[in-house]
Symmetry: C2
Subunit: 388 residues, 2 copies
């Protein structure tokens, strides 16, 4: 493995009843004035909003609100949140929602401590040097944002969807109650599953040697996702299934399973290009692009693909070459995605090749992308065309 | 899974060269006066002592020393360390050694902020409410003490070996360089492997339902230990092998693989009774007792034993009952322990039945022990006799 430094300061609350029991205390510990950030208002429909407001009022803490955070959250929304924080001296951002809401809240928390435009943290190499405290209440199992320091923001003016992270943007606390994901519809549940599965694959496709435990930890998460995806889709009110999937989402991207391992994030990068033009669901874009990325890079390390086939999908290796077995692994990923009903062609979203050249050029503007097999603009273009 | 709260604040530095690069900064971040705690002096023989002292002098920080911490560290040694801290106003304890040194340092850090006798934290239900900062440099892959808040201390006067933990006794930082374990001899390496393997088993033998990912994470660590134990014993200077085993030790007991899972720590409890009378190596005691504990509790959940057999030891299930497969799992654990040269009878340490009744009574003084299958004094006595 590579030498590494690992630190993850998030205090994680999992399970039923934790919000009622601990939210008020956590809020008081970290803030005296709260900005409550949420999305389209579904949290009002299933009673979470009331529960949170009750806990905040119990804590005797003034609350301001920023509602309406979009899927693929926008820098304009972040700007509005930063302005509220600066105007009212907010010292705790409390995000209630899925990955988009949490990512927006991270940007707001960092922007509140920054004199320039918070977009700098996404568009340039500049990283936050401070942030106000951030807490989260998760309502969608997908991004892992509840226990990591990263986030993705979209700028429609420049047609860019970019990420940022810093040691200051870890949530101080996160509440994950599987019941708060019951109301997530089938399509969004599928996208969440695709997103977390992709996160693990992106860590797993690594050229770092000497990572036997990390590989097995990744395989553990992938196997659990594959086993429970069907259950959660068939029984969306099954607590154990929602819990297993929610927990996989958290573990997929909190850094615990890939310490000292250099992953390959090219697919996420390419998907962000597509979403920045077409505002499609991130998980949908990933489901389409990932298998084609795998086709494109298998030559750079067929052994890892073969290992995926054998250990995650339990495909017998007998008499097959590494390459053959690896290709069966890719086929198994495709079959899994098809089985859960994820889209497999960009055409599904009425996307054509019109902007492909711009996307390929933009995502490789800093040079070839990815570490498992670096891809130049031409290689990215080929993946986009294959995905049509 | 059970509802849970997870927080682990330790900043983990893994790999070659991290001490040279980061120790001085970390020390300055957390302290202004250091107590350096170490064991029998092996760290002087292989150059680590000099490296640490150099970093501390670079940091310009006054250093006091407590040398000679024993395996099965003693409360008398802890008392000496606490006295040094109080006398000199020490604000950072830096432990350089294996689990014993780290556990002693945890007790010292807590004792330095306590007016009473630090033994209270071990012998009673009282827990530390504060501790001075603690940092560690690990030289033996075994206990996981480098990334958890627990520790075990022995009191020879009362013939008790007891544990304690608190949110205040997590190391603030830990440096794990596999090269610092090259000089660990074969026997100690084996004991370390047994200890970490036991930690995973103790989390894994759980009656908590709904823990599919946690079980797989445990299986990932166990499989990696089984695969790499032979390599590290055959090639003690193999960096990749020392690294894999060291990393397994850390992950086995930092809480990351067993969130929301109620384990069974009866075997550790029984072993501590034996060590408290005979001062035998903890790993040696565990290797002897664990298979007999498994024999004694398999009825309470043969499915988990069968799963161990199938997933960790890759034993084919065909045509076997769960119980048969589970028993093959126990046999596989025995075979693994025998293969690496761990002892299998208490007689190996010239221990007879003389104190068994006292041990069984003492370990069950608060009621039956263990959660997978609670054991009363009689059941513990039977395990001890079976281990003779």
């Amino acid at each position: 493995m590579n030498s590494f430094v690992f630190a993850n300061p998030t205090r994680l609350y999992y399970g039923k009843g934790q919000i009622e029991q601990h939210l008020s205390t956590e809020v008081k510990r970290h803030g005296s004035k709260v900005l409550l950030v949420y999305g389209g208002g579904s949290i009002k429909r299933f009673g979470l909003y009331e529960k949170v407001v009750h806990a905040l009022s119990e804590a005797g803490i003034p609350v301001f609100e920023l509602a309406g955070v979009e899927p693929n959250p926008r820098i304009t929304t972040v700007h509005a949140g930063v302005a509220l924080c600066k105007e009212h001296g907010i010292d705790l951002v409390l995000a209630v929602g899925g990955g988009s809401v949490l990512d927006a809240a991270k940007a707001i928390a960092a922007g509140a401590c920054y004199d320039g435009d918070v977009w700098d943290f996404y568009a340039t190499r500049r990283r936050p040097e401070a942030a106000i405290a951030l807490g989260t209440i998760l309502t969608h199992a997908a991004t892992g944002s509840e226990m990591n320091s990263g986030g993705v923001i979209t700028n429609w003016e420049t047609q860019e969807k970019l990420s940022s992270s810093s040691p200051f943007t870890f949530p101080r606390f996160s509440f994950c109650d599987p019941e708060n994901t019951y109301s997530v519809g089938r399509e969004q549940t599928v996208y969440g599953i695709v997103d977390m599965f992709s996160h693990v694959l992106e860590g797993y496709f690594s050229q770092t040697s000497g990572t036997p435990l990390q590989e097995r930890l990744c395989e553990a998460v992938m196997q659990t996702i594959v086993e429970w995806a069907d259950v959660v889709l068939e029984h969306p009110d099954d607590y154990a299934a929602r819990e297993a999937i929610m927990y996989c989402g958290t573990m997929a991207l909190n850094g615990m399973i890939t310490m000292g391992m250099q992953g390959d994030w090219a697919t996420h990068g390419i998907e962000h290009e597509v979403s920045a033009y077409y505002d499609i669901p991130h998980g949908g874009g990933l489901a389409i692009l990932f298998p084609h990325w795998m086709d494109a890079v298998i030559d750079a390390g067929p052994a890892r693909f073969a290992q995926l086939a054998e250990r995650v999908f339990h495909i017998a290796p007998d008499g097959k070459t590494e390459r053959q077995l690896g290709e069966e692994g890719i086929a198994a990923v495709r079959a899994f995605l098809a089985r859960i009903g994820a889209p497999d062609r960009l055409d599904h979203y009425q996307i054509d090749a019109q902007h492909f050249a711009d996307m390929a050029r933009h995502v490789t503007r800093g040079g070839p992308i990815g570490k498992f097999k670096p891809l130049d603009a031409e290689a990215v273009l080929a993946i986009l065309h294959a995905s049509l």
